[in-house]
């Protein structure tokens, strides 16, 4: 053991120096010489039939090289094979304000902008729906012809005897919680650079994608091209959080423009367009009902979720399934009924965002559990402890739980926050709240089932002793390439500096499904270890031949292959490589990882969603100050513990935990996307308020290591699990501080003040009623 032994602080990112020196090239920083400028014309209305789209005046403008409309887009796309209902440019109909309807490539930005202004669009407007209940109304016009009631998908799952569970409960409570739509708001705006060579018929695409393989596949599909003629390269990517886990319209449009122009096209979206491209967490209404015994045991859960999904399918089916399936897996639940409704509306399409599908339902669950514990006089920590799972086990909906560190997470944050001595003893206006959450370490079943392994890593070793790992995994700042380097170096007994990682270039790296569902550490990490072990075996055999010893007698550590029985017998790593290359030449080994079928969830419809090889677990305590006169809530401090199985890189794990908690805080305190008749009222980083350095508290991130039996070195995910417990912990802290229960997110000053006023009114009425008695 080298990197992973002893007291480990972790290692900086292997591409960190490029980032701090400005050398790192993001998509907009690539070589744009000779590139045409791409621009997109967007729909001015929310729902309309396109009667006439005339591009002839624009086409005649000098400097315009390519121009496209929906007529040029014959093939629909979408991330789910069962729900591809979107075209790169609208065909026949527009379904949200800002939907791309035409695109131009011109010699410069001014010409492109002028060309867009010359395009004539004539439409017949249709009724537009901006709320889920309007869209679901009996007389509503269909947004998609094949979806009556504008219902994209409904889910009805029932496990255990829910009625009996409620009948045996001592306390049954039900509440309705509203969570605003939020956005990823990664700091890098969307961009793409596509180059088509007409002489060879080859397309090279560079983009901000988290899923380069999906992009490759979807380009081939929508451009009706041979896959082998396409190369997708991921430059540095400035954050994702789910914004880029499906192929986005501008990426397809850029490639189509490049092909039409027969050259290179650079597309850089504005921040406003980046917001409109959206694909984030939907506005969600949750009706949550829980049954609790006096002993604090959960007896039953009934949950109805309505998500306003926007105008196209995207990941919608998965999101509404996650919202139900991840009710399970955190606590021991004897009976759960879930009814989910994913609804179309004339707004930018929603998609996956950090904590995909689980965040808003977890908020409602934890918040109601906290209120009910209060009613029964139970401590919030105690009520969680009475409902813990015991690994290994399976949930009612057939999710496998192989490791479970929640009990230790609870102990750690309870102690660190001084909960027992401070809770209930803080001055008025200050409060403490806690909650728990969990998340998958990679969806166990891939979206595109091909029979291939779920992850492949190649490791190459050559005459100079250099070790290079090739992975298709997209590092988007989370540090996945560094994780691969550590996994390979550790397995080969080398310092991390000796391992180079080449990532996410379809011409050189093996295919990878991408950076989503926190799959990379678990799946790609295991594949990297597998590859490195195979290489170690080859090198050990070569070293044994050179040393004339048995391979079983050879150990590799600290960059040397040594005889275990004769300590003075050994050769350097480089000499072992040279020995191995005799008669073989450059060695490339392949490692793979596949989630076994038993990890892929239940047989019920949608049962694969939520299934994973390992769940991360989190508990957190939030301390707040609330100003009852202004409604302003400030977060003073957060204590959070995350069971990530094993921290391969503790520095990166802490960074991920802090980022997840903070993103949960943004959603809980201030973030929301609002629309005025379908027009985004938030499409800048000023109007979409996120916490600044001044709004952000110290976060004490603690790592719990439950050592997962299947994880790489025992590791599980660390980036998403801690997000969902922030909002309910905040709500509990506000209740503790000022005695107000909030049923809405975010807890903006106006909403908090409304709740304070309602409480005061209630108190006055109660006092009056008391006086009359």
């Amino acid at each position: 053991m080298t990197q992973l032994a002893g007291a480990r602080a972790g290692v900086p990112l292997i591409d960190g120096i490029d980032k701090v020196t400005g050398r790192a090239r993001y998509t907009a920083d690539l070589d744009h010489r000779g590139a045409l400028v791409g621009r997109i014309l967007r729909s001015p209305c929310s729902h309309a039939q396109i009667l006439r789209l005339d591009v002839e005046r624009a086409r005649r403008l000098p400097g315009v090289v390519a121009i496209l409309t929906g007529e040029d887009c014959r093939v629909p796309y979408g991330v789910l094979p069962i729900a591809m209902n979107e075209y790169p440019l609208a065909r026949g109909k527009v379904r949200y304000r800002g939907e791309p309807v035409a695109a131009v490539a011109a010699i410069d930005a001014e010409t492109a902008a002028l060309a867009l202004s010359l395009i004539e669009l004539e439409v017949h407007e249709l009724p537009a729906y901006y709320e889920a209940d309007q869209a679901r109304a009996a007389d509503a016009v269909r947004i998609h012809d094949d979806k009556p009631g504008n219902l994209e998908r409904e889910v009805h799952h029932s496990f255990g005897d829910v009625a009996a569970g409620f009948a045996t409960a001592d306390l049954v409570r039900e509440t309705v919680i509203d969570c605003a739509e939020v956005n990823h708001a990664q700091i890098e705006p969307h961009a793409a650079l596509a180059e088509f060579d007409p002489s060879t018929g080859r397309l090279t695409m560079q983009s901000v994608s988290q899923v380069t393989f999906y992009l490759h596949m979807m380009l081939a599909r929508c451009l009706e091209m041979d896959e082998s003629r396409i190369r997708v390269i991921k430059p540095f990517v400035g954050g994702g959080f789910g914004a880029r886990v499906e192929v986005l319209n501008f990426e397809l449009v850029t490639a189509m423009l490049a092909r039409t122009a027969g050259g290179k096209v650079a597309m850089e979206l504005t921040r406003e367009e980046t917001f409109i491209t959206h694909r984030a967490r939907p506005q969600t209404r949750i009706r949550m009902k829980l049954g609790l015994g006096r002993d604090g045991r959960l007896r039953a859960c009934e949950c109805e979720v309505v998500q306003r999904g926007g105008a196209y399918a995207g990941y919608g089916v998965i999101t509404i399934l996650y919202a139900g399936s991840l009710l399970h897996g955190l606590y021991d639940l004897p009976a759960v009924r879930y009814d989910g409704y994913r609804v179309y509306a004339n707004l930018p399409p929603c998609g996956a965002m950090r904590g995909h599908g689980s965040v808003d339902t977890r908020h409602a669950f934890e918040l109601l559990l906290d209120r009910m514990a209060r009613e029964l006089g139970l401590d919030p920590f105690e009520v969680r402890r009475r409902n813990l799972l015991h690994a290994p086990t399976r949930t009612l909906n057939e999710l496998a739980i192989n490791s479970y560190g929640l009990a230790e997470c609870l102990d750690r944050v309870e102690a660190a926050s001084g909960w027992r001595t401070r809770r209930g003893r803080l001055p008025r206006g200050k409060g403490l709240g806690m909650a728990c959450s969990h998340y998958v370490s990679g969806a166990a079943k891939p979206i595109h089932w091909t029979g291939e392994p779920h992850a492949v890593v190649n490791v190459k070793v050559d005459w100079d002793g250099s070790v290079t790992a090739f992975t298709g995994a997209a590092d988007i700042g989370q540090g996945s390439s560094t994780m691969v380097a550590i996994a390979v170096a550790e397995t080969l007994g080398l310092p991390i500096e000796q391992v180079r990682v080449i990532a996410a270039d379809s011409a050189t790296t093996p295919k990878d499904n991408g950076a989503y569902s926190s799959r990379i550490t678990f799946m790609v990490g295991n594949a990297a270890i597998d590859a490195a072990r195979r290489l170690r075996t080859l090198l050990t055999e070569a070293a044994a031949r050179r040393l004339e010893r048995d391979p079983a007698d050879i150990d590799c550590t600290d960059g040397r292959f040594r005889s275990l029985s004769a300590a003075d017998q050994g050769i350097s790593f480089t000499d072992a490589v040279k020995a191995a290359l005799v008669d073989q030449g450059t060695l490339t080994v392949k490692g793979t990882f596949t989630c076994p079928p038993e990890a892929q969830g239940g047989k019920h419809r949608g049962g694969a969603v939520g299934s994973t090889m390992g769940f991360s677990y989190a508990a957190q305590v939030v301390e707040v100050s609330v100003d009852e006169d202004t409604g302003r809530v400030s977060v003073d401090r957060v204590w959070v513990a995350l069971d990530c199985g094993f921290a391969i890189n503790p520095l990166a794990v802490r960074g991920q935990i802090e980022g997840a908690v903070w993103m949960g805080m943004g959603q809980a305190l201030m973030e929301e996307t609002r629309y005025l008749n379908g027009m985004p009222a938030h499409a800048s980083l000023l109007e979409y308020r996120m916490p600044t350095s001044l709004d952000s508290p110290p976060i004490d991130a603690m790592i719990v290591e439950s050592i997962d039996p299947n994880g790489p070195f025992g590791a599980k995910e660390a980036s998403e699990g801690a997000l969902a417990s922030f909002a309910p912990a905040l709500a509990a802290a506000i209740a503790d501080a000022i005695g107000v229960d909030l049923d809405v997110l975010p807890a903006t000053p106006d909403r908090v003040l409304d709740a304070v006023i309602a409480r005061r009114r209630r108190e006055r009425l109660d006092a009056l009623a008391g006086g009359r008695r």
């Binding site: 990112l13 960190g16 090239r25 700091i187 400035g238 960074g655 980022g659 350095s693 001044l694």
Partner: protein
């Protein structure tokens, strides 16, 4: 002697960029960020928004951090402009660069150049800032990855490391 007419709307800009004087013909309405990225080829300075929202384009003009997306290039005539590329000297990392690297002040790295330049502006006018002063100085620079925890730690580590 023949002297060409000046191109309307353009003028000669003379600035000291990362320690070196240079001259370029620039349009009157060219933004400093576009001058840096397109004319000077310094793409370390990022554009993250539609104008003055995010701080990713922060550079130093005569030691003061300014958003280069709200600054006209021609306003920098005769002045010193420093970008992330100018911070390290002779292949050595500047103390803020080293601290942001080692303390994980950069995750995706997109806000990092602007963040480091804003921090450098602070350290030049206030060599030993309190945590509150660090947080205030960086309040115009948005980061979506770190929750600012490790960014503040990085700045403090750079202060401790000295010049």
């Amino acid at each position: 002697m023949f002297e060409p007419d000046p191109i309307p709307g353009k003028r000669l800009l003379r600035i000291r960029l990362n320690g070196r004087w240079r001259e370029d013909a620039v349009a009157d309405d060219q933004l400093l960020v576009d001058y840096l990225r397109e004319t000077a080829g310094l793409t370390g300075t990022k554009t993250g928004c539609d104008g003055g929202e995010c701080g990713a384009c922060t550079v130093l003009v005569d030691d003061d951090p300014v958003p280069s997306c709200l600054t006209l290039a021609v306003r920098c005539e005769g002045r010193s402009v420093e970008t992330i590329e100018g911070l390290g000297a002779g292949g050595r990392l500047h103390r803020l660069q080293r601290a942001f690297h080692e303390k994980l002040g950069a995750q995706c790295g997109f806000c990092t150049p602007g963040m480091i330049m804003a921090a450098e502006g602070l350290l030049r006018r206030c060599p030993d800032p309190s945590e509150a002063q660090i947080r205030a100085a960086l309040a115009g620079n948005l980061c979506r990855c770190t929750g600012y925890v490790k960014i503040v730690e990085s700045v403090r580590a750079a202060v401790q490391a000295g010049t």
